[in-house]
Point group: C2
Chain length 121, copies 2
Amino acid sequence: MIRHTVVFRLKHLSSSVAEMVFLRAASELASIPGVERFECLRQVSAKNPFSFGLSMEFADAATYQRYSYHPDHLRFVQERWLPEVVEFMEIDYIPHEVSLAPPSPVYFQGPQTPALTKASS
Amino acid sequence: MIRHTVVFRLKHLSSSVAEMVFLRAASELASIPGVERFECLRQVSAKNPFSFGLSMEFADAATYQRYSYHPDHLRFVQERWLPEVVEFMEIDYIPHEVSLAPPSPVYFQGPQTPALTKASS
């Protein structure tokens, strides 16, 4: 599973019709084959400059790539995204399994003690 | 629902024990009351500088705030986050309902035609 997300800010006024029309067009990306769990999100943290997000999942990298090159996606980028988005960041996630076993002790060994050599006598 | 996410980069080498130990400590945040759908994620896009993400959901803003001030969270921030995270961005989402109805035509009207006034005669 790959989760593709993009967080962005539009040039439109908040709650404007232009904003609504853009988000509606963006939501149509959900119908491109391979797109799963599509979400249109409002970004609400004051700790970044973005106001909206899109999130979607793909079964694998090949499906994600087919989406990226799908004509409906390319048209959306040309006709809506490039003219209307002021700034954005793409963030893509895959699950990360966190090991719950204690790390193998071998990793915590310090430098090996040098082999004792007989002092020359 | 509020989805709190943070995308970040550690000072540790990739796949190092220090990285694993950090991520394991981060995953223990999942046990703080109110945390739902906790995920530890690997960030895989080349279009940003981050390498991991955490995602979790809260029922509402009050639950999110209780998490933020929970002693286990504050301790994690002091003891692990501040010393080990090089850069990060917090992104918080709420669902955004996209209206599917056509916009009311009133919004598309141009400036009102000034009322016709009788020419003084």
